[in-house]
């Protein structure tokens, strides 16, 4: 397994009317080819902003930190995403080596053009295929994602397809350029749970077949447990815990992760009460100094939590937690 | 720092609380203030409007024939100066002009400036001048004047009327026409657009057909027809109201469409449904939920309609279909500018144009600023 993506110290601020807002703060993670990484967080965690940063898709008032580095390892050498400035330079990655699928499939298909036309357009931009070959490849791709009667669907418009089919069509479109990295931003949130199960299976099959890496963004821990190999839990712009899925979910170490899991209604235990995480997430204008979770943490240790930002401590070989409880030198 | 937690709120907290309890109007005002060009436009607008309202005081002479200077026809602007060859004085002054014609000048009237000391006319302030009525009370003080003769800082036209006085009264007249027109258009648009948008369905279809019909009526032929229809016996005031009303009657269509569109989308909002589920009457829903939601848009639309009204009236009067003397407006003032004589020799006739450009631009900046500031809630849906 080769290292596909390396994100180091990614920091992203937005310059808004209300002041400078930090959306992503010193986020680092890496992804291997053929691996699905889950990026989990609630609203305000910065997970979508992080994903968009991988293709530099954020708004023009975004300010990247000086040490931010995103490296994509492609066949002909590593690409430093931060150094790509113009739209032309970025076109290499956007849609080519990196593809993205979104939460609302209705929103990413142009309503007045057929699905087929959009897929062909994408191929024509990123590859040197002829239009005829592009159509062939697109229909094949539609079939591959499980859309029956692909050649008819190719000529249909987005509104003629059901939600699940639209999402599959979007996956087909994203994969037709054979990207090395697929970013999936809440792809199943808007789908019915029975369709969600199908789409998750599809994505796992496709990873096996195409060998690409997926960054899977969601707030649903259950989906991550079923889909991802590794997971990073984000809160208010920072990664608080990361590691293999089994370990993070089986042995949640950060108080936030523990809180999230406790708050989930579990079907296997109908008697247990639902325990919310107390308090509310602070507004991005009032990020706490020190640990971002300190204002709501039930395991609050003391002044060090409000003052110093915890660094990563390994719980096991690749399971890391950013919490003062585990940091060496802190008494439990 | 664990201090007593119930001390007076910090300045930061007070600011936040102010933001949380700010009503729509207050939020819009805050955003508007941050827009420098809009704020500048607003100041200019206020100054111009006040100048128009107080024009009898601000101008030395009556803008009609009654105030003309027979001795200074087509005169160039007289700029007060402080010093000349004869020495300086604290009081600014202008020169006396003397008209004469003779064989030498081919019997054309020629004005000559007399620069002797005794020909100086000193500027006086708060001087007595011609009487005028303001709010029913007679005054005779004007902002400035000269101790003998007359002063024309923007020059005069072919009959000797002071262009400066005429400019300010023109601003006033155009604003008045605009206001009446906009008000009429507004109420019509509110009624038609409102009913259309709130009820939808067949009512909406019928009213939209009506709106489209009115919208497609070509304006110039309509006005020409109306101008022919207006009897000559009407006084200039009656004519003035007539033009204003007509402008309003054909200007409501765009606003009606906007109100309708806005209502059609707003009435499906969930908070409207919530009120209806309590048995709220349509009147309550309109008053409490729908009207406040588009007040900001309406204000923007009204402000932006003003320049259109003013420019329409100008165009009409310019081609002779609108207002006529003695009612004064920009269009009336421009009626005589098309002759070569004026274009070559009497360029000061165009000074009022600058005023109107500034007025229209001020409206546009304010309108744009309002539009940008309006609907402060647009970005609070996540």
């Amino acid at each position: 397994m080769t290292r596909l993506l390396d994100v180091e110290n990614l920091t992203l601020d937005f310059d808004t009317d209300e002041g400078r807002i930090t959306a992503v703060d010193d986020v680092s993670f890496s992804l291997e080819a053929g691996e699905i990484m889950g990026l989990v967080g609630e609203s305000g965690s910065g997970k979508s902003v992080t994903a968009k940063a991988l293709m530099k898709l954020n708004a023009s008032n975004s300010i990247y930190g000086e040490n931010s580095k995103i490296t994509l390892n492609l066949a002909d050498g590593p690409v430093d995403i931060m150094s790509l400035k113009t739209a032309k330079e970025l076109q290499v990655v956007r849609g080519g080596a990196i593809s993205m699928i979104f939460q609302e499939p209705m929103a990413s298909f142009a309503p007045a053009i057929t699905i087929g036309a959009q897929m062909v357009e994408q191929l024509l931009i990123h590859t040197s295929m002829s239009a005829v070959k592009a159509q062939e490849v697109s229909i094949e791709m539609l079939d591959r994602v499980g859309i029956s009667d692909a050649s008819t669907r190719f000529k249909q418009y987005a509104f003629e397809l059901s939600g699940g089919m639209r999402q599959r069509a979007m996956i087909a479109m994203a994969l037709s350029t054979n990207p090395k990295l697929l970013i999936a931003d809440e792809p199943t949130t808007a789908l019915d749970v029975t369709i969600q199960a199908q789409v998750i299976d599809l994505m796992k099959d496709l990873v096996k077949e195409f060998g690409m890496g997926i960054v899977f963004i969601t707030h649903d821990l259950g989906v991550i447990a079923q889909t991802a190999d590794t997971v990073a839990v984000m809160y208010l712009g920072r990664v608080v815990e990361k590691g293999p899925v089994r370990q993070v979910i089986g042995n949640p170490s950060h108080p936030y992760t523990q809180g999230l899991i406790k708050a989930l209604p579990r079907l296997d235990d109908l008697d247990s009460p639902l325990t919310p995480i107390p308090g509310d997430i602070p507004s991005p204008l009032e990020r706490p100094d020190g640990c971002v979770f300190s204002t709501r943490c039930s395991s609050f240790l003391g002044p060090q939590c409000s003052v110093s930002i915890p660094t990563f401590t390994p719980i096991s070989h690749d399971h890391m937690v950013a919490c003062h409880i585990y940091q060496e030198g802190t008494s439990k | 720092m664990t201090d007593t937690t119930n001390t007076a709120p910090t300045a930061n907290q007070q600011l936040k609380e102010a933001y949380f309890t700010a009503s729509q109007g207050q939020l819009i005002w805050q955003r508007f203030k941050r827009n420098k060009s809009a704020l500048a436009g607003a100041w200019v607008l206020i100054i111009l409007i006040l100048s128009g309202i107080f024009s009898p005081f601000l101008t030395p002479y009556d803008a009609t024939i009654a105030g003309r200077d027979k001795g200074y026809l087509n005169g160039a602007p007289q700029v007060p100066s402080f010093c000349d060859d004869n020495g300086c004085s604290i009081r600014p002054f202008v020169y006396t002009y003397e008209r004469s014609r003779s064989f030498k000048t081919n019997f054309r009237w020629v004005s000559e400036e007399k620069t002797e000391l005794e020909d100086r006319r000193y500027l006086t302030f708060f001087s007595k001048g011609m009487e005028y009525k303001f709010l029913g009370i007679s005054f005779d003080r004007h902002l400035y004047g000269v101790d003998k003769g007359m002063i024309h800082i923007f020059g005069t036209d072919s009959t000797g009327k002071d262009i400066y006085s005429r400019t300010l009264t023109a601003v006033n007249t155009s604003m008045a026409v605009g206001t009446i027109g906009v008000l009429i258009a507004f109420f019509l648009a509110l009624a038609i657009g409102g009913i259309s948008g709130y009820y939808g369905g067949k009512v909406d279809s019928v009213l939209q057909m009506l709106t489209d019909t009115v919208r497609t009526i070509p304006n110039i032929p309509l006005f020409m027809a109306l101008a022919a229809f207006v009897p000559d016996t009407w006084s200039s005031e009656e004519r003035f109201f007539f033009i204003s009303i007509v402008l309003g009657l054909i200007g409501w269509t765009t606003l009606a469409r906007r109100i309708r569109t806005h209502l059609l989308s707003e009435r499906n909002q969930e908070y409207v449904l919530a009120a209806q589920l309590c048995g709220a009457s349509p009147a309550h829903v309109i008053r409490r939920h729908l009207l406040p939601s588009f007040t900001s848009y309406i204000i923007v639309d009204l402000v932006i309609s003003f320049p259109y009204m003013i420019l329409s009236e100008t165009a009409l009067s310019f081609i002779g279909l609108g207002l006529k003397d003695p009612v004064n407006s920009l269009g009336v003032m421009l009626q005589n500018v098309t002759s070569a004589d004026v274009l070559l020799n009497y360029q000061w006739y165009f000074i009022p144009v600058i005023f109107f450009i500034v007025l229209v631009l001020a409206f546009v900046f304010v309108g744009d600023g309002l539009r940008d500031a309006a609907d402060p809630y647009a970005d609070t849906n996540k």
Binding site: S43, G163, T194, Q196, D280 | A275, L277
Partner: protein, 331 residues
């Protein structure tokens, strides 16, 4: 009607006509809800579950008389009044509105952005003229705000000052200020973060017990329903396919759709083997459904009779009803 039923639906259908279709002949309709029969006990927390197109929202609205009842009977009996919702006159409708309310899904769209929180909560009282003075209104607003754990200081603020969870609590306060007997919560926690969701659900449960309310809780999320509801009804394509007390439904689901729904919920255990079926196929067209059972297009157990006869709801256990021809064989 057994045991203190507050509201019951018998053979209720809600059909919406759509434009288009042939010039002559029957106009096409969307059968949003078709022949649903259920009854809700007073004081219970009744869950209505289904995916998109199931008709659950429409049924909920019909039971509030906010959607037209095309056929069937909805009966409301709270001990003081006895209404048949399909035939209410204007006065009875007004009265019914004081006894039933709706909590919306979207906390951002459900609150008028230009009214203060106090005014939003007070609005039902003012519209329905339930109080005689401003002091009384204020008192009741403060009471319900405290019950919903809203800070009284915040009553002066506008909705834009609040987070999703707080707004939802304002929404709940507004629905409850008129002290209704019957409350429909339409996907009221779907738009909330998981950690806030738990908080709001606990609040609903608390208030229900304190005020003796009856809830109809509409949701697509079975795990949420499992924790908070006493009784659950599952809808598919406008029809009721199974209804049972919560524990019974989750331990012994009988309808293939219920089984599929339960197994589709992603488990937190990455190694949990997916025992039950994955559904293939598409849901039928809403205007031209096939005859027989509407689940046949996706059911792995469909046989001839399923394609011919529409299964009727039959009681198979203690308050447990199923609409499936083959429920016994598939046990």
């Amino acid at each position: 009607m057994k045991r203190d039923t507050l509201i019951s639906a018998t053979d209720v259908s809600v059909h919406y006509p759509i434009s288009g279709g042939k010039l002559f002949g029957p106009k096409p309709v969307v059968r949003a809800v078709e022949n649903v029969t259920l009854s809700i006990t007073k004081g219970s927390f009744f869950g209505l579950v289904g995916e998109s197109g199931s008709g659950k929202t429409t049924l909920g609205r019909a039971m509030l008389k906010a959607a037209p009842i095309t056929s069937g009977v909805v009966n409301f009996n709270d001990g003081e009044v006895n209404y048949s919702l399909a035939n209410l006159d204007a006065k009875e409708l007004k009265d019914y509105r004081t006894r039933s309310q709706l909590i919306f899904q979207d906390p951002y769209a459900a609150l008028s952005p230009r009214m203060t929180v106090r005014d939003i909560i007070a609005e039902p009282l003012e519209i329905m003229k339930l109080t005689s003075s401003r002091e009384e209104t204020d008192r009741r607003v403060r009471e319900i705000a405290t019950k919903c754990r809203l800070n009284l200081e915040h009553l002066r603020r506008f909705p834009h000052a609040f987070s999703g969870g707080q707004r939802q609590r304002i929404s709940i306060a507004r629905a409850l200020v008129s002290e209704p007997k019957f409350v429909v919560a339409d996907e009221s926690v779907a738009a909330l973060d998981v950690s806030i969701q738990a908080d709001v659900l606990n609040l609903l449960k608390e208030i229900q017990q304190e005020m003796g309310l009856t809830f109809l809780f509409i949701s697509h999320d079975l795990s949420v329903v499992a924790h908070i509801c006493d009784h659950v009804a599952v809808m598919y394509f406008g029809r009721l396919v199974e209804t049972a007390p919560t524990r019974e439904l989750f331990n012994n689901p009988r309808h293939p759709y219920t089984k599929a729904l339960l197994s589709a919920i992603p488990s937190l255990d990455p190694d949990a083997k997916n025992l039950a079926q994955k559904l293939e196929g598409e849901i039928p067209s809403p205007t031209n459904p096939p005859p027989g059972c509407k689940f046949q297009t996706r059911c792995p157990h469909a046989i001839d009779i399923c394609r011919r006869d529409e299964p009727q709801l039959e009681t198979i256990g203690e308050e447990h009803d199923v609409a499936c021809h083959r429920w016994e064989e598939l046990m």
